[in-house]
């Protein structure tokens, strides 16, 4: 065959794949990229420098949000019902298999874009970054979010690595945003060193996996794994795979701030501004959980349909390995996060450990989902839906928590828990808002955090009842239940300080009142925490839609 024609066909195919198939599903990311360019260009033109970069970023993100919503609508046909068949048509591989576009991609992108809108509004209210730093800050934030969108849709191990790096590198710079503060620089350095180490280990793991399986494309890897299983592990292959898998897990665990790769988290949260903490705690976590779902399901399952039944069965060993790893990490992360939160006196540090603990609960849901895969499609979908629902409520809970910390810092000049003493006397509204958020983080009804926990626990329980990885799932249930009880202490301690304790004698300024712009922001974030706890059918329908990706 003529090599020129061959090349031409290849080019044509690529062009078609890129322009016709991939780019229409890539509009939210393109919007983010265009906004970044715009933000940078605006700095070069003196007149445009007067435009507040926050609003440029907000505009770009709103476009991105619109396209993300449009993507959901395009997938929706028949998706609100539980019929799975209609949705699977929605799965497409973009850019030659590097990315996957399906309901999970669409859901997480919508979540991230929606979060960014709220986040930018929050930063405008809280005043960090100032005008000078604005362009840098929003460029970094949008860049990291771009990486997170890629994390949520990665379908290829190279893309996994690229996306993780793309999300991480801007985050390192964000952590050091408070330039004058030593703690902030230290946080950035620690984060960067940790991140670099984790990335290196992960890359090594990727190369091991790719070397054994001959590909980095996740679905192809799963098929190779299934074929390998038939003649289980000749020579050192099994060992190489296991080590490779664990090394990839290191990278993922770093992004999830899972124990024992969590050490950066409290220091970064405490050193960086609360705004950055909010971004890392919500967006980064959502993307990391989505990536975990992608990798776990990518390696542990093949596509649906009768032709894959045998492959699904022979992947059982792989799934067992994945579930074991995730469950172990989940139990450790949850327990250690909750126990370490006890001794904290700084609110941001406490929230950092709370974030770690919640990563544990989320991973329990992922473990249950993988355990159920191949047993019961409907239950698997529910388990993924539980995780997605959790992420949806987590946006409001944690953004509200960090918003309160940041806004109280602006008025009280302190982020120590002790400085909140007796706030109920002067600012009952703020204390109630904080109470709602913290109680929701404990997971008590009728708040959103309870529903999330309920859904995750019910998925784990369903796995127990269906006999999927029963001992592990039982352990997870016990650990999760016990952790709910022990987490009560430290969340309530904050409330106790705010309500029971007398105000410090040297307090000069009062906190902001509820009837003000910051107060309105807090209210806007807290109202969904309550309403999603009572009327959660709507968000759950969305989450189930996202869960369709797994079945």
């Amino acid at each position: 065959m003529n090599p020129d024609r061959n090349l031409g066909a290849l080019l044509n195919g690529t062009l078609h794949d890129t322009l016709v198939v991939s780019l229409p599903h890539f509009r939210p990311e393109l919007c983010l990229a265009a906004t970044i360019v715009l933000l940078l260009l605006c700095r070069m033109v003196p007149l445009l420098r007067l435009v507040d970069s926050g609003f440029i970023a907000l505009g770009g993100v709103l476009f991105s949000l619109f396209f993300a919503w449009d993507d959901i609508l395009s997938l929706r046909a028949g998706a609100w019902s539980s019929s799975i068949g209609d949705l699977l048509a929605g799965r497409q591989e973009l850019f030659g298999g590097l990315l996957a576009f399906d309901s999970l991609t669409a859901y997480i992108r919508l979540l991230l874009a929606g979060f960014l809108v709220l986040f930018i509004l929050f930063t405008k209210v809280s005043g960090i970054p100032d005008r000078e730093d604005g362009a840098d800050f929003y460029t970094l934030v949008l860049g990291a979010t771009l990486g997170m969108c890629l994390m949520a849709s990665a379908n290829h191990l190279l893309m996994v690595f690229m996306a993780v790096e793309m999300a991480s590198v801007p985050s390192y710079a964000l952590a050091g945003l408070l330039k004058g503060r030593k703690a902030s620089s230290e946080a950035a350095l620690k984060y960067a060193v940790y991140g670099a180490g984790a990335a290196g280990v992960m890359l090594y793991g990727l190369s091991l996996l790719a070397g054994v399986l001959g590909t980095c494309h996740l679905p192809t890897m799963a098929r190779e794994l299934a074929a390998l299983d038939a003649m289980w592990m000749p020579g050192g292959t099994g060992l190489a795979l296991a080590i490779g898998g664990l090394m990839v897990a290191v990278g993922l665990a770093f992004k999830l701030s899972a124990v024992p790769f969590h050490f950066w988290c409290p220091d970064v949260f405490a050193g960086a501004a609360a705004e950055v903490g909010a971004f890392l705690s919500v967006a980064s976590k959502a993307a990391a959980v989505a990536l975990l779902l992608r990798v776990a399901f990518g390696l542990g399952t093949t596509g649906p349909g009768p032709e894959h039944v045998a492959q699904m069965a022979s992947l059982g060993e792989t799934r067992h390995f994945i579930v074991g790893g995730i469950a172990l990490l989940a139990a450790l992360t949850c327990t250690l996060g909750n126990l370490a939160a006890y001794g904290q006196t700084n609110m941001k540090r406490l929230l950092a450990y709370s974030t770690i603990a919640h990563a544990g609960y989320l991973m329990m849901g992922v473990a249950a989902a993988v355990a159920l895969a191949g047993r019961d499609a409907e239950a698997t979908r529910s388990a993924v839906a539980a995780v997605c629902f959790y992420l949806g409520t987590y946006v409001f809970m944690n953004l509200a928590a960090f918003a309160i910390v940041a806004l109280l810092r602006n008025s009280l000049r302190s982020e120590e828990i002790a400085s909140y003493a007796g706030l109920i006397r002067s600012n009952p509204g703020i204390v109630v808002a904080t109470g709602v958020v913290l109680v929701s983080l404990i997971g008590l009804p009728p708040l959103a955090g309870f529903v999330s926990k309920f859904l995750v626990f019910s998925s784990v329980m369903e796995a127990v009842m269906l006999g999927a990885e029963r001992p592990l799932m039982l352990v997870l249930l016990v650990v999760g239940g016990a952790n709910t009880v022990i987490s009560l202490f430290y969340y309530l301690r904050v409330l106790k300080v705010m309500t029971f304790d007398p105000p410090p004698a040297d307090r000069t300024a009062d906190a902001f009142p509820l009837v003000s712009i910051p107060g309105a922001l807090v209210t806007a974030l807290v109202v969904p925490v309550v309403s999603l706890g009572i009327f959660w059918s709507g968000l759950y329908a969305f989450a189930r839609f996202a869960g369709a990706f797994a079945s």
């Binding site: 409907e378 109920i424 009952p428 109630v432 109680v439 008590l444 009804p445 009728p446 309870f450 309920f454 626990f457 019910s458 329980m461 369903e462 009842m465 039982l474 249930l477 239940g481 016990a482 709910t484 009880v485 009560l488 202490f489 309530l492 106790k496 309500t499 029971f500 009327f535 959660w536 059918s537 759950y540 329908a541 189930r544």
Partner: protein, 614 residues
């Protein structure tokens, strides 16, 4: 759920029950708005009190049609055993969670007790000067939570209300309590939350094991899985959907307590399948639920939160705690544990009874040893709630007794009566202690004495209430204790002897307390000059309690008219279930002998009425 479907509700009980349930919470929300300016504390108090009164009147309208004229739709029919005034609206269709409310002979009196005690506790809250507005907001939220537990028939909803109570209670103890309030508040919260988490696991376990497709059409309609409102084709479609899902191997799970009970009592119940470590699923569920409930009751050895919480809580909150919150545990056992997990109930009967007797005896001895007046009353609650456990637990309708259920029914009726009576007497006792504490600011039993001379009216009322707690014949405390003790004789002589022996201990600690506090020559403790007579507000709280303590003592059928039909039906059903469970054929004479025995039991109940006419 939009507005339109709510307005189109055709269930007659929707608005009455919903109002009883949510009016306190709505008013709490309104109080949170800055409508009443700062400093107008009395207005807030009046709004709060008025709310509790309205809710009480509403519940009275529902529960006692005789007062308001019978016949209105949505009212309660006394003497009917089944679930009444059922409200059924979809809430979370994805999990088959419904806004499912209803009352029967077990829950209606408890709802009435709750709304009644809330009025009295609201009146007793007048002396609270600190942070008046938040106090009343939390108080009203607490009322919604308590009523919600009693009227919920959906397990998810039940759990939500169960948890909703915790936070208000935590703050009510933690902010307005005594010196060790923070410790007591967190201890209360922690104990209950630990129990609730176990309960949640049991709920999920039962949910995933349940399949409403195994029920018959009649059962599906009776348990409101398929709304009885549906007619004709709609009903058929709903039933067919469930059965075809079942036949296709896709179980339809449920949180519906009535449906779970029907499933649990069915032949080949899925709950009876062996699950973990050789125990059946229902055994695990029963144990997990039981732990959750007995923490609330509370039962030795998980009772230690109670003395602390009671002692540190302000007087009105102690009244609510003792009068209502403890009943939630007993209610949970009778409504959920036994009907849903009958197999486990049968095999763990000794455990429930044993726990009851142990806390009965331990609580009495501990009460004897107390120096703090309020702590003594708190331990008396532990002891008295032990009777409830014993009465609920005497599963005497077994093979050896020819599946005779009347003795057991006597026990459960006694337990229900004991719950209501204890609600009156313990709230009264805590209030009486509070009256004294408000004046002299101490509770040391050793430093009292001679109160009779200083406050004769108060002392007479207090002694009357304490006698009710003691279980003096003619007072409300007697009926429950004696029924429980009698019924346990049939089950185990040893337990009956222990519980009879406890009556002596009870008499000992109460009489001794009366002697140390009210009798004696003169009051020598601190603040003697503050021993002023009771105010009218205090009288308005104390007198109804004393009157009710006497009325229920002489006319117990006022309560039994409500309780007995439902309890008897439940016990009879479970006794029948036991017979089927054992697989034994019915002894020929057993069925015939049931009726005379029932009549005899009714006669026994009636014989307690001295003056009250039927």
């Amino acid at each position: 759920m939009g507005i339109a479907p709510i307005l189109a509700v055709t269930q007659p009980a929707f608005w009455p029950l919903t109002l009883i349930l949510f009016l306190p919470a709505i008013v709490a929300g309104i109080l949170a708005l800055p409508l009443i300016p700062r400093g107008k504390d009395d207005s807030i108090r009046w709004v709060g009190l008025a709310t509790t009164i309205v809710v009480f009147v509403l519940s009275l309208w529902m529960a006692v049609p005789a007062i308001f004229g019978t016949g209105s739709a949505g009212q309660f029919t006394v003497g009917e055993a089944g679930m009444q005034a059922v409200v059924d609206q979809p809430w979370i269709p994805a999990f088959n969670i419904n806004y499912l409310l209803g009352v029967d002979g077990i829950s209606m009196p408890l709802v009435l007790l709750t709304t009644f005690l809330s009025v009295l506790a609201a009146a007793a809250s007048w002396p609270i000067e600190k942070h008046v507005r938040p106090y009343w907001i939390l108080f009203l939220l607490l009322e919604t939570g308590m009523i919600g537990v009693f009227v919920s028939l959906d397990f998810f909803l039940f759990y939500v209300f169960w948890e909703v109570m915790l936070l208000p209670m935590y703050f009510l103890i933690g902010i307005w309590g005594g010196p060790r309030r923070e410790y007591a508040a967190i201890k209360f919260f922690l104990y209950t939350l630990a129990g609730s988490v176990l309960m949640l696991l049991a709920i999920l376990m039962l949910y995933f094991a349940s399949d409403v497709g195994t029920l018959s059409d009649e059962q599906l309609i009776a348990s409101h899985v398929v709304s009885p409102v549906l007619e004709g084709a709609e009903r058929t479609a709903a039933l067919t959907a469930i059965h075809s899902a079942h036949d296709a191997g896709k179980p339809v799970h449920t949180f519906n307590i009535l449906a779970l009970a029907a499933i649990g009592q069915s032949q080949n119940s899925p709950f009876a399948a062996t699950s973990f470590w050789g125990m059946t699923l229902e055994s695990w569920a029963f144990l997990l639920l039981l732990i959750g409930f007995v923490i609330k009751v509370p039962v030795v050895p998980v009772h230690t939160w109670l003395p602390d919480a009671h002692v540190e809580a302000p007087t009105p909150i102690s009244m609510i705690l003792a009068g209502v919150l403890l009943k939630l545990g007993g209610y949970g056992i009778i409504r959920i544990c036994y009907p849903i997990c009958p197999g486990a109930g049968l095999s763990f009967a000794w455990l429930v009874c044993g726990l009851g007797v142990v806390s009965m005896v331990y609580g009495a001895f501990a009460a004897l040893a107390q120096k703090d007046f309020k702590r003594m009353v708190a331990y008396s609650s532990v002891s008295h709630m032990g009777y409830v456990m014993l009465g609920l637990g005497v599963w005497s309708a077994v093979d050896g007794h020819g599946y005779q259920w009347d003795a057991w029914a006597q026990g459960v009726n006694g337990a229900m009566f004991q719950m209501l009576a204890h609600g009156i007497s313990s709230a009264g006792m805590f209030f009486m202690v509070g009256v004294l504490y408000d004046r002299v600011h101490h509770r040391n039993l050793e430093e009292f004495g001679g109160i009779f001379n200083r406050m004769p009216l108060y002392a007479s009322l207090a002694v009357a209430i304490f006698f009710a707690g003691l279980g003096l014949p003619g007072m409300c405390g007697f009926i429950g204790e004696v029924l429980v003790t009698l019924s346990s004789w049939n089950y185990s002589r040893l337990l009956a002897v222990c519980s009879a022996f406890t009556v002596i201990l009870t008499a000992a600690y109460i009489l001794w307390a009366i002697q140390r506090v009210y009798l004696g020559a003169e009051y020598k403790g601190p603040h003697g000059d503050h021993l002023t007579p009771m105010t009218r507000r205090e009288l308005a709280i104390a007198v109804p309690l004393v009157v009710l303590a006497v009325v229920f003592g002489v006319a117990p059928q006022l309560i039994f008219n409500y309780v007995t039909p439902t309890v008897n039906r439940q016990v009879e059903t479970l006794a029948e279930w036991t017979r089927g469970h054992d697989g034994a054929s019915a002894p020929a004479g057993a069925a015939a002998s049931t009726d005379p025995e029932k009549a005899e039991f009714q006669a026994a109940i009636d014989s307690f009425s001295v003056g009250g006419g039927r």
